[in-house]
Structures are given as C-alpha cells and as structure tokens.
C-alpha cells in the first residue's frame, strides 16, 4: 500500500519530506500551487504523483486554481453549469493535456461537489466529465492509468439505495483503472468514532477492490490505518486538519472568513492519536520518561526542548507526522489477515499505554484513546464479513 502526500497550504513541507524519502508521491492541489510552479517541479517527483483537478465547485476561483488552463472560468467568463453542455469536450481536452504534459503517474477525471446531491448527479457526471474524458483519452490512445474522482457522502454509505447507486455508477465505467475516493467527513470530533460509518467505509473499499479497481483514498487522517485492512492501494498524509478531513470549505473563496487556529498536536504511532501539546506539557511534569510515548524523528529533539513554542502553524509536528505515519504504514503486513491481526495488536497496545497515561494525566476525548475501542470493534465486525 502506498502513501501519498495530500498537498495544500505549505505544500513545501510535503515536498521537503518527500525528498527525504517520506511518502511514495504527492497529490497536487491546484488551489495552492500555481500552474507554472507545478510545471517546474522535478519530473521524477511528478512521475510518482498525480493531480486532483479540483473542479468541485466548477467556477470558484479559489487560490491559484485559475492559473490552470482547464479552469472553466478561463474557457468562458462566468462559466456556469449550463455551459458544460457545450464545453465539456474542451474542458476534458485541456485537463487531460495538462496532466499528460506533466507526466503524472495517473490521469484523474474530476468530479463536482453538491451539498445535496441532485437526482441527476451521476448522469451529469458521466455526461460532463467521464464520457468526454474517456473519449478524448481513447482518441489520443492514452496508456496511463485513469482514476475517477468520487466524493462519498455519509448518506452514500448508510442509505442502501444511495450506496447501490454510487457503487453501480463507479463500477459501471469500463475505461477507468481505479478511483481517487474521498470520504466526506462531517464529524465534529478529531477522530472518527462512528462504528457504522467506519464499517461502511471498509465495506465500500472492499467492494471496489472486488471489482478489481485501484482504490486511492484521499484526505485521510490516522483512520487510514484502519482503512488499510480493506486493502486499498493508497492512503494519504496531510499537514493541517483540512487536509486530513475533507470539507468543501477548503475550496470556497470565503473572503474575510474568521480563521480558527487549533491547538498544536503531536502524533504518536504508539498511541494512534494526535495529542494536544497542553497534555504533552502535563505529561512532562507527571510521567517519567514521558517522551517515550512519542516516536523518534529528527524533529523530536527540537519539539521536546523546554523552550519550544508549540503552534499549530509550525512545520515540525507535521513533518514528524509524515515521517512517523509513513513508517507505520510501511510496516503493515502485506497479507490481509496478518494486517488485521497487526492493527488489532497495535490498538490493544495503544489502549494499554493510554491507561498508563491516564493514571496521571487526564485527556479530553480529542486526545485520548476513545476512538480505539470503536476501531477495534469495527475490525472485528469487518473480519467476520471477509
């Protein structure tokens, strides 16, 4: 299983980590990376990476999206949905040409985002994106693998009719090799603790794999470890929370919107959790060898210096996470049954470590192990179905 960097703001952190051997490639984000800049990136890096075209809101010119030739507003000012009727072929051509010019590992067919999926959403997606892209790819005799993007809303996991519709739609396309799938996350907690949701995600991945499609999951947080037991082809690492949990706000041009700065957190592969630095400071005072609960990395010594100023916008905790999580993913056994056993063991060990910590330091439920029992139970439920 591969691990891609989900890039965004501060994509240079991802590139720096990648150049040190962390991660297998990057998923490029047009709203954050100017098109010319992306063109100038090293070929070797691009050849193992791919582009998320980010046409989720079609004509919302957030960030540098309008520097891309396929951006609809560059085809026609005030481009709107009805314009797709006449421009879908041109849009497909420009988007494919751009991806081919950059020689990415995969070619990605974009998707749109709707808060409430309209009834003709899938038919429109086929007409506006999938068919024009596939026809153009056929015309140019493309030999690269093609991924279809899909945003999976919670209702598509929980409602049978909607689930069947989306699965029949994805698997019905003959000319794709896989999916770049994003599970929309509307949870308020930092970790996903919903048993049904997580089990349904695993089932969803399993069905796509049964259909012999490559499954690349975007916007993963640490639940990527849990998803790994359904044997997807890749998961992601991202820096800020909005790159580890998909929300459409990231693509909306919200001028003067209030900025929310969360507390800085540090990921521990032993605890399977991001721990708020406030608790790390408490642990320092209350637990001997408290630093052993956190992984070693080149960034650790700096972060554990008494004068380190924790801030969510600092690079070190994220670069540390990239390094640690990449290593953790790479340690997963290849065989599904072994992987399941391994992840379950890791969860059990993490729960034991939390017991030790909470003898001295009480954690809130965004820093504790309260997600782990759900994860463990989800694995058991999934294991019964395979």
């Amino acid at each position: 299983m591969k691990i891609y960097h989900q890039t965004g703001f501060r994509y240079n952190w991802n590139i720096e980590s990648f150049e040190k051997g962390v991660g297998d490639g990057l998923i490029f984000s047009p709203i954050n990376i100017d098109s010319d800049k992306l063109i100038s990136f090293k070929e070797k890096m691009k050849q193992v990476s791919f582009l998320d075209p980010q046409l989720y809101l079609l004509n919302e010119a957030k960030g540098s999206l309008d520097t891309y030739p396929y951006f609809p507003g560059n085809l026609k000012p005030d481009f709107s949905t009805p314009d797709l009727d006449n421009s879908q072929d041109e849009l497909a051509k420009l988007c494919v040409d751009y991806q081919i010019e950059n020689d990415f590992e995969y070619l990605v067919i974009p998707t749109r985002y709707h808060a409430d999926n309209p009834t003709n959403y899938f038919l429109d997606s086929t007409d506006f994106f999938v068919d024009p892209f596939c026809e153009y790819l056929k015309e140019i005799k493309n030999s690269k693998k093609v991924l279809l993007s899909a945003i999976i809303k919670t209702v598509m996991l929980t409602d049978d009719e909607k689930k069947n519709e989306v699965l029949n739609w994805i698997t019905g396309h003959q000319n794709i090799d896989g999916v770049y799938i994003i599970f929309e996350n509307n949870f308020t907690s930092k970790q996903i603790k919903d048993f049904d949701y997580l089990l349904n995600v695993l089932r969803f991945i399993k069905i796509l794999k049964m259909n012999q499609l490559e499954v690349h999951i975007g916007y993963c947080n640490t639940e990527a470890l849990l998803y790994s037991i359904a044997m997807p082809d890749s998961v992601t690492i991202g820096s800020y929370e909005n790159l580890r949990s998909f929300g459409i706000k990231r693509f909306q041009d919200l001028e003067n919107a209030p900025m929310r700065g969360p507390n800085a957190r540090l990921y521990s592969s032993f605890l399977l959790q991001w721990v708020d630095y406030v608790y790390i400071q408490a642990m320092e005072k209350l637990i001997t060898n408290y630093e052993d609960f956190f992984d070693d990395s080149e960034f650790k010594p700096l972060m554990f210096k008494p004068d380190f100023k924790w801030h969510f916008a600092k690079a070190e905790p994220y670069k540390h996470y990239f390094f640690v999580f990449d290593k953790q993913i790479k340690q997963l056994p290849e065989l599904q049954s072994d992987r399941i056993f391994y992840v379950k063991q890791t969860i059990k060990e993490a729960l034991n470590l939390f017991k030790i910590i909470e003898n001295n330091v009480l954690l809130d439920n965004d820093s504790d192990g309260s997600h782990l029992s759900t994860w463990f139970n989800v694995i058991n439920a999934f294991e019964k179905e395979i």
Partner: protein, 266 residues
C-alpha cells in the same frame, strides 16, 4: 429486394412482426421481417437495431441485406441472413449437467456480445430462444429489438414499472426499470441464468415448491445450483456466486474479468 425473393413462406409471428422464410438469387436462404410501426419508439428501436446489425460483420450476428420503411402504410421490412441451425432452447439436452460445454458456450457468447458491448450497446433480451446454434455449434445472437444503446437517449419511459425485457431472464435492474443501472452487467446476469438453466435442465430461479414467482425470486436473489437430478458443481456454483446478484456492482465489472474467470476452468 423482396420482389427478387421466391418461395416465400410464413415462418413465425410474434410481437409486432411477421417473419417469412424465402430464397434470394444472390444471398440464398433469407429471413424477411415485416410489421407495422406503431409508434415513434418502435420506429426508433427498429432503426437502431438495423443500423447496429449493419455495422456488425460477424458470424455471431445475422447479416442484414435490406431495410425499408413504407411511410404510406407505416410498415417496415427487413431482409436478413437465414441462420442454419436451431435455437439453444432446442438444444438444451447437449448442455445438461455438462459444465465444460456450458463454459465453452459462454466463452463464445461473450466473444460475440463483446462486439456490441464495445459499442456501448446492451442486448437486454438474452434467452435460449435468441441464441441459434449453427451446425458447427457456434452461437449466433439474434433479436436486438430491445437493445439499449447507452450512448443514445433512452426510449423507455421512466415511469414504466418494468423495463423492456423477457422477465424470466431479466436482471433486477430491468425488472425494476432502474434504467441508470443497465449496462453490460445486465447481459452477464441473463447469460448466467441461461448457463444454470442449461446445467440444471430447470430455470434456476424456479425452485420447485417455491411460493414465489421467478421474477419475485430474481428480486429476492433466491436461486438454486442443484436439484434432485443434478448435483452441485463447483464451477457452476462459483459462476452463480460471481454473477447472480441483484446489484450490478457485485457482478464482474467487465467482460475481460468474466472471460478470465471462465478461462480458469476451460
């Protein structure tokens, strides 16, 4: 063209058309189909079928020699190749309890159907009556009258409770007129129903003693892989398990995967 034909004999009558057998000086034995065009939809269906057969130059389909519409009388006439042989329905005994023969037949049928699937066309009416076995045992697929052309506008009314089909060979998406879910996997379903019927000598969704009709059993996915005369067979059961599902996403995603599966037993 028809005026050149001799020895015209009525052959069959069904649906909206009469079928005649005749001799043509150039093409030999031919089939003449005549009928009334009752609606725009039926005209469009006939036109699409004719155009498709015209494009297909394959022994898996009858060749098309002539098509004409008389707009005064609103009648159509088609002249096509007569296929020597008899229907699969008349040859069930050859395949009874014979998985390897069934798999070989399926392999050929997939080769034939792939020609229309590649054109984004779904046959939608596969059944033993619509497959003719030539004397060399190669199948010829006939009657594309209700084929679904996925690239063209659908001709089926969305409000119809059931889509066009022969119900006992129809998949659940046809029976519930779930038009958006119809694709080549709809034909996969019918192929495996036929395969199991050949194997068992009995329709697999028609278990004796069942309180449900065949269509109800299809919608409930209740089928049999053995009966009192034929024992369960691993390859037939596995085939059923891979394809007989109410949801298309549970079947093979494309015909290459279907063929790959068959190959493991051929």
């Amino acid at each position: 063209m028809i005026t050149e034909c001799t020895s015209i004999k009525e052959f069959a009558q069904g649906g909206q058309k009469k079928v005649f057998l005749a001799e043509h000086p150039k093409f030999g034995k031919v089939v003449i189909k005549k009928g009334l065009i009752k609606s725009f939809t039926s005209l469009e269906r006939i036109k699409r079928e004719v155009k498709l057969l015209d494009e297909l130059d394959s022994e898996y389909y009858p060749k098309q020699y002539h098509f004409n519409i008389d707009f005064k009388t609103n009648e159509f006439e088609i002249v096509e190749e007569y296929i020597e042989g008899s229907t699969l329905r008349d040859n069930l005994h050859i395949f009874y309890n014979n998985p390897s023969e069934i798999f070989s037949l399926l392999d050929l049928l997939i080769d034939g159907l792939s020609l229309i699937w590649d054109k984004n066309v779904v046959h939608r009416d596969l059944k033993p009556e619509n497959i003719i076995l030539r004397p060399n045992m190669k199948p010829c697929i006939i009657d594309l009258g209700i084929a679904r052309f996925l690239d063209l506008e659908s001709l089926t009314k969305t409000i119809s409770p059931v889509g066009p089909c022969t119900p006992i060979y129809a998949s659940s998406e046809q029976l519930t007129n779930n038009k958006n879910s119809i694709d080549l996997r709809t034909d996969f379903f019918a192929l495996v129903v036929i395969a199991l019927e050949l194997y068992l000598g009995q329709h697999p969704f028609n278990e004796s003693g069942s309180k449900y009709s065949i269509m109800e059993n299809i919608l409930r996915n209740n089928y049999i892989v053995e009966n009192e005369n034929v024992n369960q067979n691993k390859q037939m059961s596995e085939l059923a398990l891979k394809v007989l599902h109410t949801q298309p996403y549970m079947r093979f995603r494309n015909y290459s995967l279907f063929k790959e599966f068959l190959k493991t037993y051929l």
